[in-house]
């Protein structure tokens, strides 16, 4: 039986006909919508490469059954930049060389955006590392990733203070 899945993806409302309820949110994003920024790494919730925001919260899209999230708002890495202007977290990853091969990077960036919004790590590198522990980087760019998250936190805090 075909079921209709309604999602708002990066601000755009989408109605997707699903003839198989086995689809995960990750499958829908990559194979139905064509948003391949979100990566499939382990597909078991262990690596974090598929991290997206579901109603503002970071989750593993590979373990999210798509139909269970009918009606949700999804933000993927494609939804962060404003036209040509990168999101502060994206810019900070480039500035601090927070990657090597880049495969884990969309998940790292989405996780970092959420970590900063959660507001619990602040500028404590230990809390940033713990808060990013759900995102593995096989190239081990962790030092750059931590610096990027700390720098983005500073930039975003300064912008908020200026606003």
């Amino acid at each position: 039986m075909t079921q209709t899945l309604n999602l708002t993806i990066n601000g755009t409302a989408r109605a997707i006909a699903l003839d198989d309820p086995r689809a995960t949110l990750l499958d829908v994003l990559r194979e139905r919508i064509g948003l391949t920024g979100t990566k499939k790494g382990c597909d078991r919730g262990q690596c974090g490469a598929c991290t997206v925001l579901i109603d503002g919260r970071r989750m593993n899209a590979c373990l999210a059954l798509a139909l269970s999230h009918d009606g949700a708002s999804i933000t993927t890495v494609e939804g962060l930049a404003q036209a040509e202007e990168l999101h502060p977290v994206q810019a900070a990853f480039i500035r601090h060389d927070g990657f090597q091969c880049g495969y884990c990077t969309p998940g790292q960036i989405m996780s970092a955006v959420a970590l900063i919004a959660e507001g619990e790590a602040g500028l404590d590198p230990e809390r940033v590392r713990e808060g990013m522990s759900g995102n593995l980087c096989r190239c081990a760019a962790y030092a750059g990733i931590t610096e990027a998250v700390l720098d983005a936190t500073r930039v975003m805090t300064a912008r908020e203070d200026a606003a």
Partner: protein, 340 residues
């Protein structure tokens, strides 16, 4: 993943008695379905049911089954009154998983025994009577208490250990009515042929209650030994609470994790502490009592010693008092070390 039908339950009545596997956060069930260990023909999605509230309840708390692990760990009342519950939650999984995973789902999560997780290995837990592949295998994550020749698997939850220590009760609604079971006895121990299920067909966990912690509210900790400091299951863990008045212990709580098919509440250790000073000697005696009757289920005798040490240290940390702010590395054995 095998094909299945998907239905969403709009009411508890629709979920109770429904023929199918209950889907809440999905973080464990979908994983088990992907590896072929769970093969339900129907999923009944309970994630929209109104079970996301945390309410005050006789000095304690009533936690809805769909409250996420992240929301529970951040709740100001949990942090103030049950800090070991928050610390246990934050020591488990990852921020992404904690946002999706539910309270009821955490209670119902399957063992991480690698033989249970491999559909090709005989397993009495998956198929009673088929045998246990873990016995004689790699057993460092397996039980030292309450195991049988049919199953030596452990329950992987951190949350449940802290809930068991602080007298939580799991509330269940089924086709024939409701029942309430203490967390410490909710998961059946293995018998001679297999492991009875914690829930009968058609039953749904609706909420978990925690009673008033009294003087232990700010003297409670969770401590977890693991192979890496973040995002790893416990080798052994302990939740502890201590209430001291006029230099003597008047109440104590202790439960061990990673050692049995259920969180292992150490009643004898708690009883032995009453009336004692909050001293290293008293806590060491209690920690020894906590592993009384422990036996290796394979090449894992070291866990008996490790569990005793973690219990001792958790009791000492609890007596020192809960830190005002959650440690940067929750439940870490490296807390206070100059390792950064």
């Amino acid at each position: 993943m095998n094909p299945f039908d998907y239905t969403r339950a709009d009411t508890l009545e629709a979920a109770v008695g429904a023929d199918g596997a209950i889907l809440a956060g999905g973080t464990n069930l979908l994983d088990l379905m992907k590896i072929g260990v769970a093969t339900p023909s129907r999923l009944v999605d309970i994630s929209r049911l109104p079970m996301r509230e945390i309410d005050d309840h006789d000095g304690g708390l009533r936690i809805g089954a769909m409250v996420s692990n992240a929301d529970l760990a951040r709740d100001p009342r949990i942090l103030a009154r049950f800090p070991a519950v928050a610390e246990a939650l934050l020591s488990g999984a990852s921020p992404q998983l904690r946002n999706a995973a539910s309270t009821g789902g955490n209670v119902m999560q399957a063992t991480r025994c690698s033989y249970f997780q491999d559909p090709l290995s005989p397993c009495n837990r998956r198929e009673p009577g088929s045998g246990c592949s873990a016995i004689g295998g790699v057993t460092r994550n397996h039980a030292i208490l309450g195991w049988s020749d049919a199953c030596i698997a452990t329950h992987p939850s951190d949350l449940c250990v802290a809930l068991a220590a602080f007298d939580a009760v799991v509330h269940v609604t089924g086709p024939t009515g409701t029942r309430s079971v203490p967390m410490a006895r909710f998961h059946p121990l293995p018998d001679a042929v297999g492991v009875p299920p914690a829930l009968s067909a058609g039953e749904v966990i609706t909420h978990v209650t925690l009673p008033d912690p009294g003087g232990m509210a700010r003297h409670a900790r969770y401590l977890k030994l693991r192979e890496r400091t973040s995002y790893a299951f416990a080798i052994v863990s302990a939740a502890a609470g201590v209430h001291v008045e006029d230099g003597r212990i008047v109440a104590a709580r202790l439960a061990l994790g990673g050692v049995a098919a259920r969180p292992w509440r150490a009643h004898a250790a708690e009883a032995a502490l009453i009336g004692q000073p909050a001293s290293g000697d008293a806590f060491a005696h209690a920690a020894a009592l906590a592993v009384q009757g422990a036996a290796p289920s394979g090449d894992n005798a070291a866990k008996i010693v490790l569990a005793q040490r973690i219990a001792l240290r958790a009791l000492m940390l609890a007596a020192q008092g809960t830190p005002d702010r959650m440690p940067a590395l929750p439940a870490s054995v490296f807390e206070g070390d100059d390792h950064g």
